[in-house]
Amino acid sequence: MKCATRESYGKALAEAGKKYPNLVVMDADLSKSTKTDTFKKEFPERFINTGIAEGNMMATAAGLALSGKIVFASSFAMFAAGRAFEQIRNSIAHMEVNVKIGATHAGISVGEDGATHQCLEDIALMRSLPGMVIINPADDVEARAAVMAACAHEGPVYLRFGRLAVEDINDENYQFELGKGVLLKDGTDITLIGTGLMVRETLQAAEILEAEGISARVINIHTIKPIDRDIIEKAARETKGIVTAEEHNIIGGGGSAVAEVVAETCPTRIERIGTRDKFGKSGKPAELLEEYEMTAKHIAEKARLILRG
């Protein structure tokens, strides 16, 4: 089944609303796009529209959380992590309040809206905040599980969702564990680490490599912070190198997080797939991923590059 993780976000919120009577959802005039309108239909009295004022939304969310509410504050990643960064830092992270930031339309797969709306910096921004948990789910099942895990976690969480419909990777029996990477496929030559939409690309890259006789391990890092150091260190020790793949600038994102762990535990060769310090542009998502060299084919090429030594 194909489903955009923002759709999953909306559905999961409506589910969580039943379980948590103190759950409140906020949006800044984008509820039809972020899909928080799914929650709004079920619980109109617990839905707060702030209008187009993201900074105000984040600080207001903090006040609600300080008074006992679990708050999901939603907007596009660009305006949540980007515009409201300082409110998230000072009013949410520094106060350690129970606010979950539901950021949709992350990455270059936003497509036609172009550079101003394609957030490729949010993971870097959120990673720099003490105590901030960052989850970047890969598919519908994982996105819904991530929302429930965020509810159960006391403290700030940044959830990153995409606009584009994506195929399922996990089945309904999938058990999501916050902070734990998922070994999707074992392998001995090279490790491919994906996050979000790029997990699917890493799986396809593994198939390409497998056909060439290269054994590729595939790991899904859905929680970018706190990152699963053990699974990364193990991969660094047991395979000849690591290729990371994410819909984010290669500076400061998930690839950087993996590289830090590897440098500190077991230095090995790393190649990073992502936007290479460039802004996005308008176009069809698939065409953009191709142009920015972020497909399975490109991941496989980086793996070969490492193995050639």
Binding site: R46, I48, G51, A59, T60, G63, A65, L66
Partner: protein, 279 residues
């Protein structure tokens, strides 16, 4: 009771001078200007318990102009949330009294503030939460006049009026000065009363260093059912210390030994006078 709040305000001012002098930095001017508002709120108005700072159903206060932390800390200490003696540790490395209000370290501080424009939104969130769960506590906040140059103040004003947050009363510390000088010369936000009224708030214009006018304004705000209230409190920056009054240079400066001695002698004389009145 009324006389004791006047005495409390004098003691709050004495604590502000002590804290800033010991720290050799901090913001005395905008702390002294709001000492009377803080004293009415903490000694008369708010339902709070210094022994149980997180008491359920308590009224909330958020200092949106967080740089006036010496004022907030002094009123909390004088009200019994922590020892007045601790004000001497303000801004020091091992102290819990951080330069700007920190809710994680200071008993009675409801929100960490200091980045201007955010406290008023946080206070709105607290007021909104009460509305959502049918609680009857009230929320008070103080914003600065210079702070009104921040766009977020207006986003918050829009929000408060839109959601009819009549349980949120905002004091505007209208002392007319900001770090770089006269607010009208730096980047004029006036007329503030007309702007807030146009945004849908009830606006009351008072002398913010007059205890009875503060009391009356709070009473009117509590009687209003359909709108939040903004109390435009015309105050004197540096109020209560003669050489600091109406001087922008005392926004963020600490007194030297000589200035400290003079400030203390003025405030101690006022405290002694008021204690004499009460005795």
């Amino acid at each position: 009771m009324k006389c004791s709040t006047e005495l409390a305000a004098a003691k709050v001012r004495r604590g502000i001078v002590e804290a800033v002098y010991r720290a050799k930095s901090g913001h005395p001017g905008g702390s002294l200007s709001i000492a009377d508002i803080l004293s009415v709120l903490y000694f008369e108005e708010m339902n709070i318990d210094p022994k149980n700072p997180k008491m359920e159903g308590r009224d909330r206060f958020v200092l949106s102009k967080g740089h006036a932390s010496p004022g907030l800390y002094s009123v909390l200490a004088n009200r019994g949330f922590f020892p007045v003696e601790d004000l001497k540790t303000f801004r020091k490395t091992d102290s819990y009294l951080q330069g700007h209000p920190d809710m994680l370290t200071v008993p009675g501080v409801e929100a960490s503030t200091g980045s201007l424009g955010q406290g008023i939104s946080i206070a709105n969130g607290m007021a909104m939460s009460a509305k959502l769960s049918g609680e009857d506590y009230r929320v008070y906040s103080i914003i600065g006049d210079g702070e009104c140059e921040e766009g977020q103040v207006w986003e918050a004003a829009m929000f408060a009026a839109h959601y009819k947050l009549n349980n949120h009363t905002i004091f505007l510390d209208f002392n007319g000065l900001q770090i770089d000088g006269d607010i009208r010369k730096v980047m004029s936000p006036v007329p503030l009363d007309e702007k807030f009224r146009a945004f849908g708030l009830q606006v009351l214009d008072i002398d913010g260093n007059d205890l009875n006018q503060i009391r009356d304004a709070i009473k009117k705000a509590k009687e209003t059912t359909d709108r939040p209230t903004l109390i435009m409190a015309r105050t004197v920056k540096g109020k209560g210390v003669s050489f600091m009054e109406n001087e922008a240079s005392w926004h963020g400066n600490a007194p030297n030994d000589e200035q400290y001695a003079q400030a203390v002698s003025e405030l101690d004389a006022e405290i002694a006078r008021l204690e004499g009145v009460e005795a």
